[in-house]
């Protein structure tokens, strides 16, 4: 039997909320965890004194000292490599790669080491580490400040890959990631750092303070891993998405008038299959939306899973809306980014089939 969508767990006594941007929510998550657990250490390039190029670690070094939050040399392999060693010692490192586009030098440490350590040593050593990396486009970031490399992580057994779409989830998921004893790749859509973004780049950005999801409890709470959220309930088709595209899909539903049920995966892999299947079996139609390039993107896995499990309920081919199979361009930002028009067109195709 299909399970219900898992609800966030909040400790009642600490549930005093205040408006936060995603940046503030992520900072609050690290602040809470550094306060609760002296084994939590935070480091990366420009993360210490300066507080991060996106301000996500601002004030943590002043509050917890240089041995808990510190700057590192510019070496992604080194950042992750020493984190693996610290994890083996018994610490709980939360490290930052400045842009997801720059994780590649750390690939060996992530894939060959962090992901495999528990399995290869039969639990003798573990990697309870969290690797934060700002990801995604829509900011004129060009080739190396816009990528969405999640499929390169979801293919790696032993990793957990997570991406929030709003401040509330960002804090709750990051706390869950830090507490998790498995290595977690925590992807932060930088386009959503200061406010939600529905793909209408021609309109002014609305800050998180104007949105209910920008209301974040100040203390400890978690949003569980492997739990998707029904971002927008609907009846006509199911949208499987995450990150910025959650907001784009919501906009496309509004503009097309199609009653789409939007599932924000939150945990990309391992994922909450029950919530996905429950929705698709109900609507009979499915559109997968992500910013990452299409071929062998995570949408292919989602599409295959839905096809395997919902074949007899499907009334139309599964649509995939994704970035083109090209490097992320600069001048052609909005021709590349899958905006509400492209997503809406896919909704219509799915409904007409």
């Amino acid at each position: 039997m299909l399970t219900e969508v898992k609800q966030p767990v909040v400790e009642a006594a600490e549930a005093i909320s205040k408006p936060m941007t995603m940046i503030q929510a992520l900072r609050s998550a690290m602040d809470v965890m550094m306060g609760r657990d002296s084994d939590v250490v935070v480091f990366g390039q420009d993360v210490g004194y300066f507080g991060g190029v996106f301000r996500v670690t601002e004030g943590l070094q002043a509050k917890y000292g240089k041995t808990r939050c510190f700057d590192t040399p510019i070496s992604e392999g080194g950042i992750v490599g020493v984190a693996v060693g610290m994890g083996a010692y018994g610490l709980r490192p939360v490290v930052e790669i400045q842009f997801a586009d720059y994780f590649y030098p750390a690939s060996d440490q992530i894939v060959s080491e962090a992901a495999r350590l528990r399995h290869r040593s039969v639990g003798d050593f573990t990697s309870p580490i969290t690797i934060r990396m700002p990801c995604g486009g829509g900011i004129y970031g060009g080739q190396t400040h816009s990528q969405s490399p999640e499929a390169l992580f979801t293919h790696v057994c032993g990793l957990r890959t997570v991406m929030p779409s709003n401040p509330y989830d960002a804090k709750g998921l990051l706390i869950s990631a830090i507490e998790c004893n498995d290595p977690v790749i925590f992807l932060e859509p930088k386009r959503l750092y200061n406010g939600p973004f529905d793909g209408h780049h021609d309109r002014p950005v609305v800050p998180w303070s104007k949105h209910a999801m920008g209301n974040v409890p100040e203390g400890y709470y978690t949003v569980p891993l492997e739990s998707a959220a029904v971002f927008r309930p609907g009846t006509q088709l199911t949208v499987l998405t995450y990150g910025t595209m959650t907001w784009v899909a919501e906009c496309a539903a509004r503009e097309t008038g199609i009653d789409a049920e939007i599932i924000d995966l939150r945990s990309i892999w391992p994922l909450d299959l029950d919530t996905i299947l429950h929705s698709v079996k109900k609507t009979g139609r499915c559109v997968v939306v992500h910013e990452a390039t299409k071929t062998s993107g995570f949408g292919a896995e989602l599409s295959a899973l839905v096809q395997e499990h919902c074949f007899y309920q499907l009334e139309a081919p599964i649509e995939r809306v994704a970035g083109w199979d090209t490097p992320y361009p600069h001048a052609q930002e909005w021709a590349y980014f899958p905006g509400p028009d492209r997503v809406g067109a896919a909704f219509k195709r799915a409904m007409e089939a």
């Binding site: 490192p93 060959s112 299959l273």
Partner: protein, 411 residues
């Protein structure tokens, strides 16, 4: 037309190929006892000469001479000699077991026994080593790790602590300060630095010992580890075992031509030593010096151990295809077991007769350990851990997709 002559690509070559005789003059050896010993709080800059020299303690008359001659009693030296003999016997026996197909693969440390074993003697309980696949001496020098358990890992049998998941020799012994071995070269080097940083963050007194070969110093993680170790003054010993060969590739191709690996440490701001790796006393003394530096917050030390890979790279390798067959006999630093044995005899703490007796005793012990291990199965008889266990431990708790896949396998 350019006034310059045509450029030429330089590709280093070893002097000795099959059928030739190696010219070992490139090793730049120093005499025993002549290299100075600085205080443990020395600056990295003040070790420059040491990074290009060679620290040796045992002279041609098998006596311990010079400032690096350690204060170590004969009981500990006898224990060290015994551990080296045990390691060589174990390696020989397991190489045969591979030929008999009881295990799929093996790697011996023939000729390099002194390095891991003497360093282990200079470390303390609780320190953590991040070894490569050629530091089995770290385990075989311990009384609390049984040979039969190691053989179970090599045979991937029903009692294998690694449950058949890992290639033979990829041990993991947290309780013995031996980090899980990975097939990916050099990855353990920054991890060791991170472990040492963690110990410093927590105000601990334990230190880390990192291990790498000459060939693997070319991996980016080597450079990364040196940078992080220097920046954070991590309490770590950065060991580079220069056995002259990376499979078929001479150390010159790794960047060793006209330079030393120890010199790289100085260039990164790390106090560095270049030490005779076949001289048990020199290895012990240098390890003790580096451990004391680390434990007293003086930061990291890099040590290049000059030795020779006497055996094949692995059981899948035939060195006669790329180097002279008699290279090991001609290697100027000799055999670490022979050298310590002669030293102990000169001291009156060992004899040829005792050597023969211990040799026989260890061979009986190794044979018994193998028999015990084989009672739990071998790769040959297929008594391996259950296939159901391959899904365990990928994550702390098993996600749904792995549960489904395990059911699909029907186990």
């Amino acid at each position: 037309m350019s006034a310059h002559t045509a450029l030429r690509l330089h590709v280093p070559e070893p002097s000795g190929r099959p059928g030739c005789v190696t010219d070992f003059s490139y090793l730049q050896l120093s005499g025993a006892g002549i290299v100075r010993k600085p205080p443990v709080d020395t600056s990295h800059f003040d070790t420059t000469d040491l990074a290009y020299a060679l620290i040796s303690v045992l002279d041609h008359d098998d006596r311990a001479v010079g400032p690096w001659a350690p204060e170590i009693d004969s009981t500990r030296l006898r224990k060290g000699l015994r551990a080296m003999m045990k390691t060589r016997i174990f390696d020989a026996r397991m190489t045969i077991a591979q030929r008999q197909r009881k295990t799929s693969f093996y790697m011996q440390c023939y000729g390099e026994e002194a390095i891991a074993i003497a360093q282990a003697a200079a470390l303390q309980q609780g320190d953590m080593c991040f070894p490569t696949y050629r530091q089995q001496g770290l385990l075989l020098s311990r009384d609390d790790v049984s040979m039969s358990e190691l053989i179970c890992q090599l045979m991937s049998n029903e009692a294998d602590p690694m449950k058949g998941r890992q290639l033979p020799v990829f041990y993991s012994y947290k309780r013995a300060g031996f980090f899980s071995i990975s097939g990916n070269l050099a990855t353990q080097y920054p991890q060791a630095v991170g472990w040492a940083m963690a110990s410093a963050i927590k105000g601990d007194t334990r230190i880390a010992s990192a291990w790498i070969g000459d060939g693997a110093t070319a991996e980016s993680d080597f450079h990364t580890a040196l940078t992080f170790a220097q920046v954070y003054r991590a309490p770590v010993i950065l060991n580079v075992v220069n056995n002259q060969w990376a499979i078929s590739t001479f150390q010159a191709i790794a960047g060793g031509e006209s330079s030393t690996f120890a010199a790289r440490g100085v260039g990164c701001g790390i106090a560095s030593l270049r030490v005779d790796g076949n001289d048990f006393l020199a290895v012990f003394a240098a390890s003790q010096w580096a451990a004391e530096r680390a434990r007293s917050n003086q930061g990291p030390t890099l040590i290049e151990w000059v030795t020779y890979r006497a055996g094949g790279h692995s059981t899948s390798d035939d060195p006669s295809k790329y180097r002279p067959a008699d290279d090991w006999e001609r290697f100027p630093l000799g055999d670490p077991i022979e050298r310590l044995k002669r030293h102990l005899i000169v001291m009156g703490a060992w004899s040829d007769q005792e050597h023969v007796e211990v040799q026989r005793e260890l061979e009986v012990e190794a044979a018994a350990a193998q028999k015990e291990a084989e009672s739990h199965g071998t790769l040959l008889d297929g008594r391996v851990p259950s296939a159901a266990t391959i899904f365990d431990g990928v994550y702390e708790s098993m996600p749904d997709h792995l549960r489904r896949q395990r059911q699909e396998l029907g186990v």
